[in-house]
Structure formats: structure tokens, C-alpha cells
């Protein structure tokens, strides 16, 4: 059967995409951000997911104000990058997994989550920037990706609780799929940021760290956050962190936090990133070990010697 082995969250700041596309990743400002994902790339190269489910939001690219689906699952065979006003990002076309996507659709709709299904959809930086952060800039993305677009543009987005429960339904769907597939689920967006109005520029690192802590240990607490509190504390656009709870709902109650990274700012946003692994039943080791957990090891060839347990504790927090 298919199973979800891990969850990844990451901000999806458009300027990160622009830095990649314009070859500016070596500038000190951007280095600080990209270095934080070096170990994540090593991790996912080892984890080798067969499929990624990418939870993200569209930013007035595929959906305008004409149609506003709360949850839109991509069931197409492929999803071209959208023209966001400067021409499409020069990234590979996202290949879908129509069979698993349709299976998920059928399962979660019967579980009372009324999804919108998209057999034609373009995807914007919300999905492709996290793919870059995790996979770099390959000619083709290394595995199929099933996009799940969540409305966080027009208030109200779905509640955190609803998102968490959808994650659980997605997990159930994946686990009832007969083919042996390793699935990693991405929750993207966040962390604290506000890009509109006189309060633009808001960052709340304390809140972000608490959110990350609870994401690992006590996600149910996060499902109780009201939109009002999220917007007040993490910014009007920071409300998109509800999407992380879909990822979290799809994982075990108890998970191993194998990596964390946080930095301020990327453009107008606090960047938060976390990798959570499901504990494998029967104490069996997962294949998804981090290559290295040395916080100092920035090089690509870092020594793969630290144990997973140590990795859990070795939480890197980068503050600037």
C-alpha cells in the first residue's frame, strides 16, 4: 500500500523564486535563506519520495476572483507553470499522478470533504518555490506532484481544524491505495508576514517559533487558533499557515522532527521550514535519514554519521 512517510513545511516567498530564476542565490542576502535548505535537499534525496502532495495556495494566477474554490485538488497529468505577469517561471512542468489523485479525490469526498477537482490547472510560485527549495533546479522534477490548492486569499480560509481533518482524510486515502508508494506531503506558505496595508512588514518570530514547536508536539493546539488570532499575531497574509495543518494532519500524532530552519527576512516574510517523519511501526528504521545533522556542515558532502535520534534534538534555529 501507499504510505505517507514524512511531511515538509516551507514558506513559498515569490522573491525566493525570483532569486533562483535570476541566479542571485549566491548573494549574501539569499545565501542565508538557501543554506537553510541544503540539508533538506540531502534529506529528500535519501527519502526519495515516489509522489509529493503539494499543499499550497494560488496567488491570483490559476484562480482570480471569478471562481474561489476552498480546496482544489489537481487530478491532471501535468500542471504548467503559470504566467504571473513576468512570463512563466523557467521551471519544469509539474507532472501529476492522476491515478493517486483521483483515488484521493474519491476517498476524501466520500469522507465528506467537498473538493474541487482540477483537470486543467496552472501552478504558480506557491507550489514551485518549495519544489525548488527541496529539489533544487533539476531539468525535470524527480517525482510526480499532486497539487492541492487552498483558498487563503479571500477570507475566510478553511479553519485550521478543517485543514487538519482533511490531512487525516488524505492519509486514509493514501493508505488505501494498493500500489507501494512513498508519499511526502508538503505544507507551504507562512510564516508570519503581512504584505498589505499600513501594517505591512509585520513579523512575529515568537509566534512563529511557538507555531513550529506545536506543529511537532501539539498540533491540535494549533487547530484551535482562530483566524483573528492568526491574522493579528502573524499578519493578514500569515493566515496561510493553516495549510501547514493539512500536512500535519496527514502524519502520525507523534512524529520525529528531523530538521528545522527559520530566518528573517526573505523579502517581506519570515521563512520557516520543518521536516517531520512518521515513526515507522515496529521500530523499523525509515530509509529517510538525514544525511547529516551537523549544524555547521554547510558543504554538500557532509559526514553522514550522526544518528537519527541526535538529529531530532539537533534543531537548528537561525535567527538574523
Amino acid at each position: 500500500m501507499a504510505r505517507i512517510i514524512a511531511g515538509v513545511t516551507s514558506s513559498h516567498v515569490p522573491a525566493i523564486g525570483a532569486a533562483i530564476d535570476n541566479h542571485r542565490t549566491n548573494e549574501p542576502y539569499w545565501q542565508r535563506v538557501f543554506e537553510g535548505f541544503e540539508r533538506s535537499k540531502e534529506w529528500i534525496a535519501k527519502a526519495k519520495p515516489d509522489v509529493v502532495i503539494g499543499v499550497y495556495n494560488d496567488h491570483a494566477s490559476a484562480f482570480s476572483v471569478e471562481v474561489i474554490p476552498t480546496f482544489a485538488l489537481g487530478t491532471a497529468a501535468e500542471f504548467p507553470p503559470a504566467d504571473e505577469g513576468w512570463g512563466p517561471r523557467p521551471v519544469p512542468v509539474v507532472q501529476g499522478h492522476p491515478e493517486l489523485a483521483s483515488h484521493i479525490a474519491q476517498s476524501v469526498i466520500l469522507d465528506e470533504f467537498d473538493l474541487t477537482l482540477c483537470n486543467k490547472m496552472e501552478v504558480d510560485h506557491g507550489l514551485t518555490v518549495p519544489l525548488n527549495l527541496m529539489f533544487g533546479t533539476p531539468k525535470e522534477w524527480p517525482c510526480p506532484v499532486i497539487p492541492l490548492a487552498v483558498n487563503v486569499v479571500q477570507y475566510p480560509p478553511p479553519t485550521g481544524h478543517r485543514c487538519f481533518m482533511l490531512g487525516k482524510a488524505i492519509r486514509k486515502a493514501v493508505e488505501s491505495y494498493p500500489e507501494d508508494l512513498k508519499v511526502v506531503i508538503f505544507g507551504t506558505g507562512g510564516m508570519s508576514h503581512q504584505i498589505s496595508g499600513q501594517r505591512a512588514g509585520l513579523i512575529n518570530s515568537k509566534f512563529d517559533h511557538a507555531f513550529l514547536d506545536n506543529l511537532t508536539k501539539d498540533p491540535k493546539k494549533l487547530t484551535k487558533l482562530s483566524h483573528l488570532e492568526l491574522m493579528r499575531e502573524a499578519g493578514a497574509e500569515g493566515v496561510e499557515m493553516v495549510m501547514w495543518l493539512i500536512m500535519r494532519g496527514a502524519l502520525d500524532d507523534k512524529v520525529d522532527e528531523v530538521y528545522r530552519f527559520y530566518t528573517v527576512p526573505a523579502s517581506n516574510t519570515a521563512v520557516g521550514h520543518i521536516i517531520l517523519e512518521n515513526k515507522i511501526k515496529g521500530g523499523k528504521k525509515t530509509s529517510a535519514k538525514p544525511a547529516s545533522t551537523k549544524s555547521a556542515s554547510r558543504g554538500k558532502k557532509s559526514a553522514p554519521k550522526m544518528k537519527r535520534a541526535a538529529a531530532r534534538q539537533k534543531i537548528e534555529r537561525v535567527r538574523s
Binding site: A60, E66, I203, L228
Partner: protein, 161 residues
């Protein structure tokens, strides 16, 4: 927040400097946002730049007078107030060739350099920016508990900020 005539007061109106893009604003701002959406196409950007007023009048006749004026004058907060959404209005900024931080500077009444510096210093602090009414001036968040006084600042316990 200068709400429009028919808008019902919402709990999030208490957040200062913030125009939550809800269904009311979306309805009122429909044509404004659809105008912004039209700028996703290169030929439309060209036509708009060639004669902005003509473009608006011919293609988006249902824009209100206020919305039309806010667009032409690049009043970004006013656009939000009149139902624009930032992800849409950002397309107008991009059409003008501005990086996003230019728009942020305009909206916050700052210069682009000062705004960029603010971000590099860690952004705008939340303390003092939670509430217009002062209701949340002390209480922080239900999940932030490591700061000195007990969260749930029950009886007006002192919190920094």
C-alpha cells in the same frame, strides 16, 4: 478603518492598518481585481500603459469613480479599502516595473530603503500593532507561553508590549 457605507463591522476590523479581503470587499472590488488580473497578459499591459484612462473606461466601465481614481493615482491602500486584494494590485505594481517592496513602502508611508531596512532589522514588531481598540494590547497569543508572565493574562497581568 474607513469602511464603506454598507459594510458590517467585523472583529478583524480591530487589527490596525489591515484590510481583510473578505466576501464583502471581494464583491465590491470585483472589477478592480479583474482589471488587475487583465495585466497578466503582455498585450494588455501595453494597452494600459499606452492610455490608462482609456483602457479603464473601455474595458472596465463598471469600476467605480473612486476605484478608477485610486488606480490612476496608484493609491494602494485606497485600492485595498475599495475591495482590491494585494495579490491582484501587486500586478499593477509589476506592470509599472516596481519591485514589491516599492508597493510596501507606499502602503506604509515609508521609503523603499527604509522599508527594506525595517525588514532586515526583523520586521515590524507585533507589539503595539495588534489592536486599534487596545483590546489585545497586552494579551499576546494563546500559543506563546515562554514569555515571562503567564499567557492568558487573566486579570490584566502585566505583559510587555
Amino acid at each position: 478603518m474607513a469602511t464603506a457605507k454598507t459594510r458590517v463591522e467585523k472583529d478583524y476590523d480591530d487589527i490596525p492598518g489591515t484590510y481583510v479581503f473578505d466576501a464583502d470587499r471581494s464583491r465590491r472590488g470585483y472589477h478592480l481585481n479583474m482589471f488587475c488580473m487583465s495585466l497578466m497578459k503582455a498585450e494588455n499591459r501595453k494597452a494600459f500603459k499606452a492610455d490608462e484612462a482609456k483602457y479603464l473606461d473601455e474595458r472596465f466601465p463598471l469600476l467605480t469613480r473612486e476605484q478608477r481614481e485610486a488606480i490612476l493615482k496608484r493609491q494602494y491602500n485606497r485600492m485595498l479599502e475599495l475591495g482590491g486584494n494585494i495579490y491582484f494590485t501587486a500586478k499593477l505594481g509589476a506592470t509599472d516595473g516596481h519591485p514589491f517592496q516599492h508597493l510596501a513602502a507606499v502602503m506604509t508611508g515609508s521609503t523603499q530603503q527604509d522599508y527594506a531596512d525595517l525588514m532586515l532589522r526583523g520586521g515590524r514588531p507585533v507589539d503595539g500593532n495588534r489592536s486599534r481598540s487596545g483590546k489585545y494590547a497586552r494579551a499576546a497569543s494563546s500559543i506563546v507561553k515562554d514569555s515571562k508572565p503567564k499567557q492568558k493574562a487573566s486579570k490584566g497581568k502585566k505583559r510587555r508590549g
